[in-house]
């Protein structure tokens, strides 16, 4: 693996900036990395707890299947989300066709759908007992007929692709909006066709965004538990759960988890390689006039494709949820929903602000001092996304309680009172847990945006005497705004959907919409989960609408 080197003044080390200032940045990033690595360490070090024969059992019975399944799934989802995400982003950002304006933001809405809910809905619709096959059998008058199996590798890949493509779409859309079209114009002025311009210029330029989005999608895929368990598709995640909560072998669970983290690390290194040799381009203002307009039937074909994706990924599942929710609304809806909603919004918003701010610190540190040590630190600080939620939740809880016990005993010694736990079960702990989990999400969005700032910009700014924080505030921040908005939005919606950490770290009485979904689904009452899921989706609308308006105003 070649190290990834920014070409510019940085490889010579930074000579313009005061050393002490940099140390503060590095220190901040190091503490963030430590924060994330603590729960990871707690989990992975359980390998050295008493060993038993569970690991051997896995190797003998299912390890090969797990690896094969996991590889198929990640490969399929990677290809699927790239094709969908890039093509949709290109159509909405650089072209014009009927309905583009509203489809542009509508394509982000599937973000608000929890993947496990979509998984349940699609199996309900397409399986043997679902309405489609039932109607077909009735129509043909047969007892059984051949139909593609939804509960299959292809089915899992399809569902995950449809729920995860927005990560890529949002990042790549950002890329095309800010530079893609300009590149094409240049290509055209050199006598290249539009399509060639796309493949020769715009796509290579968007590589950091594609790589960043893909890394997020793959981490999410590898750590997913909800979707694969509904499909009963055995991956590392299901095996970790089985080892820990079924066979109660912490060490086998940790061994599997460390394998998983290793796979994620490889994914991240590959992402770095994809960005290797990347070009920097000035950010150009592009206006709506230079969009490519489809003529005649072409525009409608484009519309049909984009709307088709929106239909399958959003309208169909939401339609089914609406039907179910309507059935239970009378018995299940109560005033508590206002509380759930408030909690979800508050936690999503607070976590989005905190996580985006911390990720900005990481990205900036990486920018200000681009040595191997810093790069590794930043990478490690995003690994919280690589572990399955429940496992990370336990990993976070253990050190929290440890700190609490220290506080408790000191206060007892000093003041003779028993204060109980102050940290665990507090909102602060909850927000820290979200920060640990979703750092990668915010980092991916901001880092891609940072990558498009040319080194010459740094040099210019420096020659004007800007450095450190003022350099960030005056030069980087305005350019990064789109990336920051994307980061905040992704984290906000992710936190609202998140289940295991929310369950583990919430204070008494702090139930959210996703906790409500858990209550309904834990004993298989999926139809009753439709109501909280619907409220979650509707809530997800708000930030998506607000932020898309804001970000489209920014990029005229």
């Amino acid at each position: 693996m070649k190290p990834y080197v920014l070409r510019g003044p940085f490889e010579r080390g930074v000579t313009f900036v005061r050393r002490s200032f940099l140390d503060r940045w590095l220190l901040a990033s190091l503490s963030l990395a430590a924060l994330v690595l603590t729960p990871l360490g707690v989990v992975l070090f359980s390998i050295f707890s008493h060993t038993n024969d569970v690991w051997r059992h896995f190797v003998q019975t299912s390890l090969f299947t797990l690896i094969a399944n996991t590889l198929w799934l990640t490969a399929g989802v990677a290809v699927g989300t790239t094709l969908l995400g890039v093509s949709l982003a290109w159509l909405t950002a650089a072209c014009d066709f009927p309905g583009r304006k509203w489809l542009d933001w509508a394509l982000m809405l599937p973000l608000a759908l929890p993947p496990y809910v979509v998984a349940f809905v699609s199996i309900g619709l397409f399986d043997f007992t679902g309405p489609i096959q039932t109607a077909l059998r009735a129509w043909l008058g047969v007892e059984k007929l051949w139909f593609p199996r939804i509960r299959s590798t292809g089915g899992v890949i399809a569902v995950m692709t449809l729920t995860l493509y927005p990560y890529l779409y949002m990042l790549v859309r950002n890329a095309f909006l800010t530079q893609g079209r300009r590149g094409i114009e240049v290509a055209q002025s050199l006598g290249q066709g539009r399509l060639r311009g796309f493949f020769r210029v715009a796509l290579p330029m968007a590589r950091p965004w594609i790589a960043g989005g893909l890394a997020l999608v793959l981490m999410e895929t590898l750590a997913d538990f909800g979707t694969v368990s509904i499909f009963n598709y055995d991956t590392f995640t299901t095996a970790i759960y089985k080892a820990w909560f079924g066979l109660f072998s912490l060490s086998a669970a940790a061994q599997l988890a460390s394998l998983l983290v290793m796979i994620v690390f490889v994914v991240l290194l590959v992402e770095q390689q994809l960005r290797f040799h990347q070009r920097f381009s000035q950010t150009g203002r592009s206006n709506v006039a230079d969009r490519f307009r489809f003529r005649g039937i072409g525009g409608w074909i484009a519309f049909a494709y984009v709307f088709g994706v929106f239909l399958i990924a959003f309208i169909v599942p939401v339609g089914q949820l609406t039907v179910w929710a309507a059935g239970v609304i009378a018995e299940d809806v109560d005033l508590q929903y206002i509380t759930f909603l408030g909690h979800s919004l508050f936690l999503g918003g607070a976590a989005a602000l905190l996580t985006t701010a911390c990720a900005l610190v990481l990205v900036s540190t990486n920018r200000l001092r681009n040595d191997l040590f810093t790069r590794m630190t930043v990478r490690l600080a995003t690994l919280g996304y690589a572990l399955p939620g429940s496992v990370l939740a336990v990993g976070i809880f253990i050190p929290l309680i440890w700190i609490d016990k220290q506080i408790l005993s000191w206060v007892k010694v000093l003041f003779g009172i028993d204060i109980g736990f102050v940290l665990s079960g507090s909102l602060l702990a909850m927000l820290l847990a979200y920060l640990i989990r979703f750092m990668a999400v915010a980092h991916g969005a901001i880092d891609s945006a940072m990558n498009r700032i040319t080194p010459s910009l740094d040099e210019t700014a420096r020659s004007l005497g800007l450095s450190g924080f003022s350099l960030l505030r005056k030069v980087y921040f305005p350019i990064l705004r789109g990336g920051l908005i994307t980061a905040a939005l992704l984290v906000f919606v992710d936190v609202m959907k998140e289940m295991p950490i929310t369950l583990m770290t919430r204070p008494f009485g702090w139930d959210t919409l996703s906790v409500r979904i858990f209550e309904m689904t834990s004993e298989g009452e999926w139809e009753r989960a439709a109501l909280p899921a619907m409220v979650l989706v509707l809530t997800g609308f708000i930030p998506i609408l607000l932020l898309t308006r804001y970000s489209s105003r920014e990029i005229k």
Binding site: G246, I401, K405, L408, G420, L427, L428, L503, F508
Partner: protein
Amino acid sequence: MLGTGFAVSAGAEEVVVYSARNEQLIKPLFDAYTQETGVHVTSLTDKEGPLMERLKAEGEQTPADMFITVDAGNLWRAAKEGLLKPVDSKVLQGNIPAHLRDPENRWFGLSVRARTIVYNTKKVKPSDLTTYEALGDPKWKGRLCLRTSKKVYNQSLVAMMIYDYGVAKTEGIVKSWVNNLATDVFADDTPVMLSVAAGQCDVGIVNTYYFGRLMAKKPELPIALFWPNQSNSGVHVNVSGAGVTQYAKHAAAAIKLLEWLSSEKAQNLFADQNMEYPANPKVAPDPRVAAWGSFKQNLINVSKAGELQGEAVKLMDRAGYK
């Protein structure tokens, strides 16, 4: 606001409950208890695995006084990890039959569910059915639907079979089930019943309350329950239950609540909420539940399901039961 954790107020009469049983199934009970006694019940729900890890981490300082969960295997695990303390209560021993509670009185079953055979009434006659193990007979080839082996209810069922028949014989039975599967195993009990009703398969194994819930919604479905193994070991039953935590700060109040939950008054509410059987034999089940007929239970202590759970999981892996 941000810094206050679970500082449990001393003095006020209250019980703090960690529950892996749904909030909507326990909250009405706690509300009724508060009405009756004035004792306040605070509860927190999560999955059983994370809840046990949480209790373990919190240790002596845990705010929890009571742990409620489904499945005897989970209760056994909590006891084995030292998370529950023995409760010497004449009331509980009188109300809960011996095979539905921990031999050392660390936990008590509060509601009973049977894991039994469901069949398509159009395609199967009850006389075709006998036992769980007979579902592996070649005549059921391509006619059986099962839920995943990852669900603890199936792990407990197979664990009890290991207790009754030994590992080798049970592994043969599970292998023969896998050979008879009509389609990939399902993630839930409800789709198993829907598939039996739709004719994708003819028989399956499910928990009784799932059947009750589905029939309440779709009474027209052509499915019925069958009570197997009536001439040998009996139907496999499981429980949802509770115990007092090892380091409960309100242990006396928690024991009182546990006793109340086992009383005739609370038992109906506890069981009927979810169409289960009351654990207290003095209490009659809900008429809808009683309509499924009476059956001979397997009287082996349900804690065996926990003891043999790990063995069962490995056995099902070897047998290719996903």
